[in-house]
């Protein structure tokens, strides 16, 4: 909980509008015990498989994201630990026409691992690769909002969008959109692993390991402290902890909540924990009875004991959420909205308003949704009984959960890693017609506000807009969003960790390779 408060009290983001950022240093850690170069850092990574690839369009696991986005490549912009949008490959960007036209200017003298210099053509070819009809890219929904691209000169790209979007500079920070070099014919080779990142590719064996070596010609002098990094895929929780305890790896991710206290007993371990946007959801289909009645939805939201889930399933390594998907890592997180709490009497009251004495609903659960899903369901079932609600837990197979259950069953378990901007999160899963609108909810006022948010660039106005949207989802939406889950990593005491770490993703927002060091 303390983490949560620390993170929300942070600078107002200067995301949109005419921002011409200077070469602000990224790592807040630079002010703290000075990092130094050297050593080979060994990472034990949970989440990866033999089907991982170097193709940025298809990076779907933490392992490949760390390699591709965290080590080999760079995006145009970057999100600092405090949530500010800062330069990466682009030194500046500006709104050249009511958030519909954006001009990006590249940092001069950036070099790819193969010696080629970064030009506007590389950026255009990369975006083209993702926005092709058949790209199969996870970032296609973003890339296809680009209507036209033009190189004004070698270092300047003009993006013409399909519709205005004040968040565009944020969106190009998506981990798939690392800039790839063009060859003589102007094509990109997505699986080459050649990028502009602070590390160059040594070896990459899907489902096993990867080794990256420092790229000496990297454009940021304050990144890439390790001489080399080795990533080992260790999916098994116990095996990962064992490798850490025996000193065979220096850094691990995904420490299970129930192991944190035990692991931290080891004198060599430092736990790196942040509350981010990762949140857990029980979405209800609002077009399916009984969930079509807003009072039933409210009753179900009041009948869950959020604190008990945070205490027992997350073992305190998380925070209660407030039925909307915006998290503490978002700029306009409305932490002043009243926190919804467990209240069986109030839940009964809303059931009565809906004309019901009792309610029986099926809830589809599987641990494929998030670790501890089934345990969460068990706790929810216990708590809801006191409100006269009988929750039937339907255990679905893990295999195929996302294709067979999610979006198909009217009340199931889901999770989101969250999105760096409010607009992005809402338009992905809350706006009518979105492919991943997991509750089938639609709301006129909400849609109107979404449009306003895209074209409004004044931060205060944006804060007001997004606050209202969070309130609407919270009170009317079909999403029961009960908790934020912390990202919990562990590093040996020989590793230097910046004073503030990013909460965008695990391992310092995938930046641990870049910004951590050996003391």
């Amino acid at each position: 909980m303390n983490n949560l408060m620390d993170i929300t009290r942070r600078n107002v983001l200067k995301a949109a509008g005419a921002v011409t950022a200077s070469a602000t240093l990224l790592g807040a850690g630079t002010a703290y015990a000075a990092p130094r170069k050297g050593g080979t850092a060994r990472f034990g990574i949970g989440d990866g498989s033999t089907s991982d690839t170097l193709d940025p369009a298809k990076t779907a696991s933490t392992f490949s994201q760390l390699v591709v986005f965290g080590g080999l490549g760079n995006t145009l912009t970057s999100v600092a630990p405090n949530g500010d949008l800062v330069p990466d490959l682009a030194e500046s960007w500006e709104d050249a026409g009511r958030a519909k036209q954006w001009v990006f200017r590249l940092v001069p003298g950036v070099e790819f691992h193969n010696g080629k210099s970064l030009t506007a053509q590389d950026v255009i070819a990369t975006m083209d690769y993702h926005r092709r009809e058949d790209s199969g890219s996870g970032a296609r929904t973003i890339a296809q909002t680009i209507a036209h691209m033009k190189a004004d000169d070698d270092q300047t790209i003009i993006f013409e969008l399909v519709e205005p979007n004040a968040d565009f500079p944020f969106l190009v920070n998506t981990y798939q959109l690392v800039i790839m070099p063009t060859d003589a014919d102007g094509n990109v080779d997505p699986t080459s692993g050649i990028g502009t990142g602070s590390y160059r590719l040594g070896t990459f064996e899907a489902g096993q390991r990867a080794r990256l070596e420092r790229f000496e010609n990297h454009h940021h002098a304050d990144r890439g402290w390790f001489d080399a990094v080795e990533l080992v895929l260790i999916n098994d929780d116990a095996a990962r902890q064992a490798a850490f305890l025996t000193g065979e790896v220096d850094i691990i991710n995904r420490v299970p909540p129930d192991s944190v206290s035990r692991l931290s007993r080891s004198p060599k371990a430092q736990i790196v924990e942040v509350t981010g946007n990762q949140h857990f959801v029980f979405p209800m289909h609002v077009d399916t009875p009984p969930f079509n009645d807003p009072d039933v939805r409210l009753a179900l939201k009041l009948a869950i004991d959020r604190q008990a889930i945070v205490d027992r399933v997350l073992m305190g390594h998380g925070a209660v959420a407030n039925d909307h998907p915006i998290g503490p890592a978002n700029t306009y997180f409305a932490d002043d909205l009243e926190q919804r709490a467990y209240d069986p009497d109030e839940a009964r009251h809303h059931l009565k308003k809906a004309g019901l004495e009792n309610l029986t609903v099926d809830l589809s659960v599987s641990n494929a949704a998030f670790p501890g899903t089934v345990d969460t369901g068990v706790l929810y079932k216990e708590a809801a009984e006191k409100a006269g609600i009988e929750i039937n837990l339907v255990r679905e197979p893990s295999d195929g959960y996302w294709s067979n259950v999610w979006l198909k069953k009217p009340f199931c378990a889901s999770y989101w890693g969250g999105r760096p901007t409010e607009n992005w999160m809402f338009s992905t899963a809350y706006v009518a017609g979105a492919a991943w609108n997991e509750t089938r909810w639609s709301n006129e006022r909400f849609a109107e506000l979404l449009q306003m948010g895209q074209t409004t660039t004044n931060p205060d106005d944006r804060r007001g807009i997004y606050r209202e949207m969070q309130k609407i989802v919270r009170d009317d939406g079909g999403s029961l969003i009960f908790a934020y889950g912390n990202y919990i990593d562990a590093a040996s005491d020989a590793v230097g960790v910046p004073e503030s770490v990013s909460n965008q993703y695990e391992l310092d927002g995938f930046r641990a390779l870049d910004s951590w060091w050996f003391k």
């Binding site: 929780d237 116990a238 902890q241 064992a242 305890l245 299970p256 129930d258 192991s259 035990r262 007993r265 027992r312 399933v313 073992m315 599987s366 641990n367 089934v374 345990d375 068990v378 706790l379 216990e382 837990l393 255990r395 197979p397 893990s398 295999d399 195929g400």
Partner: protein
């Protein structure tokens, strides 16, 4: 005392009677716990009764698990989900594999050839591989779990039953029954079955143990019984990382499995010896 009887006496003593009696007692205890789980367990299977990971106390004899559920209660309920499921699977596999195996042995000819070749082909795929494929196709529900493992097991049972049946099928009394014009099932039931009881009983014990270990392995890969139902393999799995911190929780269900396996196998040994040498 002749050398021959001396040796026989040694063989039959391989599992001393008192050991066998203890083993039978252990199995009976497991059966008792399985049947009367609701009466024996202090708390419910999934009931949350305390704080997470409470140490052993007079209230919770084995402490509590990660959600604050009583470990002892889960162990007792786990007997149902482990022993019960294993028993169901084994019985089903014997009904299928045993019947087909004895039929193949007595009938012979083309039917035998076809069944044997199919069993060979299925046995060539390792059980784990076959289970992974089939469970992915049919889902990991309770019914499909039982059916899939029973089918895989049935191929092994088929082989044992057929081999045992072949020995008996060439005997004079079976020939005589054939000449009397008795039907296939009558021959199997009256003449063959009583004479293949011993090897099949032994196989039953071994298969039974194999099944619950197999389910434990499937639980490890996320394909076993689905939580929150307690099964021993899953309980070991869920608490496995505690082993690294030298904590006892995962030991109890592992021990429960080990003791049962040893008891069943020693009993089987004893039964086999008795069958081979009725004098002892």
């Amino acid at each position: 005392m002749s050398v021959v009887t001396g040796r026989r006496a040694r063989r039959s003593m391989s599992v001393p009677a008192w050991t066998a009696r203890i083993c039978v007692g252990v199995i009976a205890l497991y059966a008792f716990v399985t049947v009367f789980a609701p009466l024996l367990s202090p708390y419910g299977e999934t009931e949350i009764v305390g704080a997470p990971f409470e140490p052993a106390s007079s209230e919770f004899w084995m402490g509590t698990d990660n959600l604050g559920r009583d470990m002892l209660s889960r162990l007792i309920w786990g007997a149902r989900n482990t022993v019960g499921v294993a028993l169901a699977v084994t019985v089903l596999s014997f009904v299928i594999g045993g019947t087909l195996g004895l039929m193949a042995a007595v009938r012979g000819g083309l039917a035998d050839q076809v069944l044997s070749r199919v069993a060979d082909a299925l046995m060539a795929l390792p059980p784990l591989v076959l289970a992974l494929l089939l469970l992915t196709v049919f889902g990991t529900g309770f019914a499909s779990l039982v059916t899939v493992i029973a089918l895989i097991d049935a191929t092994r049972v088929f082989r044992v039953a057929r081999a045992a049946g072949l020995d008996v099928a060439s005997m004079d009394y079976v020939e005589a029954a054939r000449i009397r014009g008795e039907g296939l099932f009558s021959i199997i039931g009256r003449e063959v079955l009583p004479n293949v009881k011993a090897p099949l009983t032994a196989e039953f014990g071994l298969r039974f143990c194999f099944v619950f270990l197999f389910i434990a392995t499937l639980s490890f890969l996320g394909l076993g019984l689905q939580p929150p139902a307690a099964d021993w393999g899953g309980m070991v799995r869920d608490n496995a990382s505690l082993v690294l911190y030298a904590e006892l929780t995962p030991l109890y269900p592992a021990l429960a499995m080990a003791v049962l396996t040893v008891a069943v196998n020693l009993t089987v040994d004893h039964v086999l010896k008795r069958a081979a040498d009725p004098r002892s």
